[in-house]
Every structure is written in structure tokens, then in C-alpha cells.
């Protein structure tokens, strides 16, 4: 008889398991991910056309060593590793947020058309032979325009439901897709290669690096206090409202913040696929669905995956470079399918 209740030893064992569930396990997970991130960071700094020992790298980071090593580490590899980590972290964070906003496990940072807008901006400037900050500036502008269009259009007379938002975003993304095809057809052979690399995602055109890292850190600091609200919102809109969450302001904030993260990531490195969709899921499979663990975990996992992928992208067929988006997929797809196949529960 379930109503009788029996507080026996079994229940005590359960609560021990539970306290592990709520405190030790997330700490363990985040700890291991932090170690993994550190390893990935070391790999990104030591591996390359000129292999460096860890000692040399540390020395160079401290301002010592010979000029060549210092240039390699401080001017080439460090900014690129930082950019890769920031972009990967931003995409994973944005993906996790979009999945909560749309209550849809298939949502990714690009689903609402932000990357499409950015791509059109970037390709337009490449088509006119512009480079550097012009490309990233117009990509960011394109992303903002797309974000605004979707926000205003999704806000129809019937209100702002996830389905309406999703449909608006997807349709706008289709529009951008057509514009991208048009721009590719119109472009000459010389700029076509650069455009394709931009579309696949590529860190060799990175612009700021440190700016993306600042955005990522601020983003994590802003999002983490709301992680429990995200847990509630993930259960459904009306339930969240009934449990005291101000759903509308929270949804709008998630939309704006996730779109901005995506815009910064795409501006920095083009439309790198896969990270934003799969990293949050990977974390859901491994750690459960508490966003207080999931958000920082996704940032660390996404960041290190992209650092490793970028290291591979610039070394595998050196001196030629691969678009990093190809590499993230090559690493991520098998890992994810393996975990998905092994998992007993979620999804």
C-alpha cells in the first residue's frame, strides 16, 4: 500500500544516492570537463607545423623563450585556441538555451535563422572583395537583422508561442538559404572558395578572439543564476507560469541572449555546425537535465571539442587547412551516435 509509507534503510540508501546526484556528480562531471578543457588547450598550443613541448609553451606564455616560439604561441596558436574555445562554448550555450526556449530537442543555435542572416552579410562583403572587419561586421549586422525580423514577425496577433517562433525562424532561414545560393552563383571563382570556407565554419578568418571570450564569460555569468528557471520552463510554459516564473520576459531574454551568442560565434568563425545541437544533448545524456550543471558543462565540452577540432583542421593535411565544421562533424557524429545508442533513457 503506497500510502502507508515505509521509512526503512532502503530509503536512506536512496537519499545517499540522491545527494550524490545533486551535488557530487555534477562537481565530478564539471571537474573532469575542466581537466579535459585544459588538456585540449595544451594540445592546441603544442601541436602544429612546428611541434612544441609543453615546457616551451609555458615558457613562451610567461614571456620567455626564443622569438619564433613566442610568435607561434602568443600570436598564432593562443588567439586561435581562445577563439575556438569561445566559439564552441557560445554555440553550445546558445543551443542549450534554444532547446529550452522552443521545448524542442532538435533546436540548435541556427534554427531561427541567425546564421543565415550572418552568412548573407558575410558573403555580400566577400562578393564585393572586402575582407577582415568588413566581413565580420556585416556578418554581425546580418545576424542582428535576422534576429529582429524573426522577433517582430513571430510576435503575431496570437502571441508568442514556441511553434510560431519556430515556424517563423525556419521560414526566414529558408529565405536566407535561397539568398546564400544566389550569392554563391553570382560570385566569381576566386571568392567562391573563401565563401565556402566561411559557410562551413573556419577559424582562420577569426577577428577578435578575446572579445568572444569576454562575451562567453559574461554570458555564463548572466545565464547561470537563471538555470533553475530554465529547468522549470523546460517543463512547459503554463506550468512554469503557475510555478511563479515570469515566462514572457524570460522567453524574450533567452531569445535575445541566445541569438546574440550565436551572432558573436558566427561572426567569429562562420557557421560551424553540429556543436550547438549535439553538445547540449551529449550533456543531457551524461549529466541529466539540470541546467545548473548542463550550461557550464556544455560550455566546457563545446569549447574543448572545437579546440581539438581546430587543431586537427590545421594539422591533418598541413599546410592545407580543412574547414573546422567538417572536423567537428567527423569527431562528433560517431561519439554522439555511440552515446545515444548506449543510453538507456532520455530523448
Amino acid at each position: 500500500m503506497p500510502l502507508a509509507g515505509h521509512a526503512d534503510s532502503r530509503q536512506r540508501t536512496n537519499s545517499v544516492t540522491l545527494s550524490m546526484q545533486t551535488h557530487v556528480r555534477p562537481a565530478l562531471l564539471l571537474g573532469s570537463l575542466a581537466v579535459f578543457t585544459l588538456i585540449a588547450f595544451c594540445v592546441a598550443l603544442t601541436v602544429g607545423s612546428v611541434p612544441l613541448s609543453l615546457g616551451h609553451v609555458v615558457h613562451a606564455l610567461g614571456g620567455g623563450g626564443d622569438a619564433l616560439t613566442r610568435t607561434l604561441v602568443l600570436e598564432l596558436r593562443l588567439p586561435r585556441a581562445v577563439a575556438a574555445f569561445s566559439v564552441g562554448g557560445l554555440l553550445a550555450l546558445a543551443g542549450a538555451l534554444m532547446q529550452v526556449l522552443l521545448r524542442n530537442p532538435l533546436a540548435d543555435p541556427y534554427i531561427l535563422g541567425v546564421s543565415g542572416g550572418a552568412a548573407v552579410g558575410a558573403l555580400l562583403s566577400l562578393l564585393f572583395g572586402l575582407a577582415g572587419y568588413w566581413v565580420s561586421g556585416s556578418a554581425f549586422l546580418g545576424a542582428l537583422i535576422s534576429m529582429l525580423i524573426v522577433f517582430v514577425l513571430a510576435h503575431g496577433r496570437g502571441g508568442w508561442t514556441p511553434t510560431r517562433l519556430l515556424l517563423t525562424g525556419i521560414v526566414v532561414a529558408f529565405g536566407w538559404g535561397a539568398a546564400i545560393s544566389l550569392l554563391l552563383v553570382l560570385s566569381d571563382n576566386a571568392s567562391l572558395r573563401g565563401m565556402l570556407f566561411w559557410l562551413m565554419g573556419d577559424l582562420s578568418y577569426r577577428s577578435g578572439g578575446w572579445l568572444a571570450l569576454v562575451v562567453l564569460i559574461v554570458g555564463v555569468v548572466v545565464c547561470l543564476p537563471f538555470a533553475r528557471h530554465l529547468n522549470v520552463l523546460a517543463r512547459g510554459e503554463t506550468l512554469a507560469e503557475a510555478l511563479g516564473v515570469a515566462v514572457r520576459p524570460l522567453s524574450i531574454a533567452i531569445y535575445i541572449v541566445a541569438s546574440l551568442f550565436t551572432a558573436v560565434a558566427v561572426t567569429e568563425a562562420g557557421a560551424i555546425g553540429f556543436v550547438g545541437l549535439v553538445i547540449p544533448h551529449l550533456l543531457r545524456l551524461v549529466s541529466g537535465s539540470d541546467h545548473r550543471t548542463l550550461l557550464p558543462g556544455a560550455v566546457l565540452a563545446g569549447g574543448s571539442l572545437l579546440m581539438l577540432a581546430d587543431t586537427l583542421a590545421r594539422t591533418v593535411i598541413a599546410p592545407e587547412q580543412l574547414p573546422v565544421g567538417v572536423v567537428t562533424a567527423a569527431i562528433g557524429v560517431p561519439v554522439f551516435l555511440y552515446l545515444l545508442n548506449r543510453a538507456r533513457g532520455p530523448l
Binding site: N104, T238, G244, R284, P346
Partner: protein, 256 residues
């Protein structure tokens, strides 16, 4: 004198051009257990959501602890009033215990994590709902009835003085219908909660509730002690013949 936990004054609720209730006065005090009865589509859910402050009333006022509910913050409302919804919404996967703990959200300060007391409340609610041992299960692996009991466990974990329950008996087997409705009844009678539950089974209302609120449609309502229910009123309410059968256990209403 203490203000009632929940009060409606001259409440008129409309939805899609239809009037659910007109000039309804309702006072819910600690210990009250009220059944909400009416045919499909008459607006039971709409009325409950309005009382929960989730949608605006056309006219009249709703007071929570004596204060107009529209001036009370959502978080405060959630601390004082729990709503069991009829329909599940789209949601992301989570474990049974995680979902039950969601009920503690309004009680936990912004920067805090769930305490052991919160976890114990959730575990007790899960035990009451017969979900002990399934804490780590993912919700999608539960049966329909188990999911319904999980929703009930979440509301019990929320532990608010006023409970608005939209078809709590829906999808439950006989054992859990009786056990969980008896528990809600016990919360009202012995623990000072107040409960409104919409029900489709008149006999459950007769068995567990002291009062009934009938929604006839076109805004017509009737608030009465459950003992005043009879075959004639119920036949008119459901637009179908109802017979009262007197048994040693009390009066039972049967269709036909």
C-alpha cells in the same frame, strides 16, 4: 477575522465569446474541499486558470489571502496556490525526481539550491503518488497513469495552502483515484488547505467533497453543499438522464 485563502467577488469569466460564470461569489477557507462539475467544454479549466491568476477575468475580482491577485507577484501566487493542469505540455526530458522538485521552485531563493528538506518533501510526495523507486526514471518511460501521478506529486511537493486541481482523477486507476483524492481531502480537513477539484465522476465528488460548484453553461452556476445534489439537477447539468440509487454506503448517481 482572517481573510479567506482564495475569494472570488462578482466574478465573470468569458472565453471565446462564451460565458463560463457570471457574478460568481466564492470563498475558500482553510478546510474547504469543493468539487467543480459540469459538462465538457463548459469552462472548468478556464475558471480554474482564472482563479490561479493565469488569465484575466472579464469582470469582478479574485483575492488571494485578501489581496487582489493581479497585484500579487507570480512567485508569491505560486507559494500560496498550486495548480494541477489537465493537459501535459511539450517538455524536455527529465527524471522523475527532478520533475517533482520543480514544485519547490517558488519556495527557493534565487541563488539557492534545493535543500534536504525540499528533497524530502519531493520524496514524500512521490511515495504518496506510488512512484517510490522510480526517482531516477526518465519521464518518457512512465505510463500515462504514472505521469499523471507524477504531475500530482509535483503539486504536492509545491505544498501550497490552496490547491486547484483540474481533473485529478483523470487517467488514475481505482486505487489511486481513491487514495489520492482521500489525501487531498485529508489535506483540507486536517492540514488547513483548501481544495477545488474539477471532476467528471459525480460519485467521487459526493464521496470526497463537502461542496459542489456546478457550471451549467451560459454563465449559470450553482454553489451548494454536496448533499443537495439530486438526480434532477444532475440530469439538467449533463443534459442526460441520471438516476439516484440509494445504497447502504450512501447515494450513488448512475447515468440512465
Amino acid at each position: 477575522m482572517n481573510a479567506p485563502l482564495l475569494e472570488a467577488r462578482a466574478l465573470t469569466v468569458t472565453i471565446a465569446g462564451k460565458t463560463v460564470c457570471r457574478n460568481l461569489d466564492l470563498r475558500l477557507e482553510a478546510g474547504d474541499c469543493l468539487a467543480l462539475l459540469g459538462p465538457n467544454g463548459v469552462g472548468k479549466t478556464t475558471l480554474l486558470h482564472t482563479l490561479a491568476g493565469l488569465r484575466a477575468a472579464a469582470q469582478g475580482e479574485i483575492l488571494l489571502d485578501g489581496r487582489p491577485i493581479k497585484n500579487v507577484s507570480r512567485r508569491r501566487i505560486a507559494q500560496r496556490l498550486g495548480l494541477l493542469m489537465q493537459q501535459p505540455e511539450d517538455s524536455l526530458p527529465a527524471s522523475v525526481l527532478e520533475i517533482a522538485l520543480i514544485g519547490r521552485h517558488p519556495h527557493i531563493d534565487f541563488w539557492r539550491w534545493e535543500s534536504h528538506a525540499d528533497v524530502n518533501l519531493a520524496r514524500r510526495a512521490l511515495r504518496l503518488a506510488g512512484l517510490e523507486g522510480l526517482e531516477q526514471r526518465v519521464q518518457s518511460q512512465l505510463s500515462g497513469g504514472e505521469r499523471r501521478r507524477l504531475d500530482i506529486a509535483t503539486v504536492l511537493t509545491q505544498d501550497s495552502p490552496t490547491l486547484l486541481l483540474d481533473e485529478p482523477a483523470h487517467q488514475l486507476d481505482l486505487h489511486y483515484q481513491l487514495a489520492l483524492l482521500a489525501h487531498f481531502c485529508h489535506l483540507a480537513r486536517d492540514q488547513g488547505h483548501s481544495v477545488i477539484m474539477s471532476l467528471h465522476d459525480v460519485n467521487l465528488a459526493v464521496r470526497f467533497c463537502a461542496q459542489v460548484l456546478l457550471l451549467f453553461g451560459q454563465g449559470e452556476t450553482m454553489l451548494a453543499p454536496v448533499t443537495s445534489l439530486n438526480a434532477e439537477i444532475l440530469s439538467r447539468l449533463f443534459q442526460t438522464p441520471v438516476t439516484a440509487v440509494h445504497t447502504p454506503g450512501g447515494t450513488v448517481f448512475l447515468p440512465g
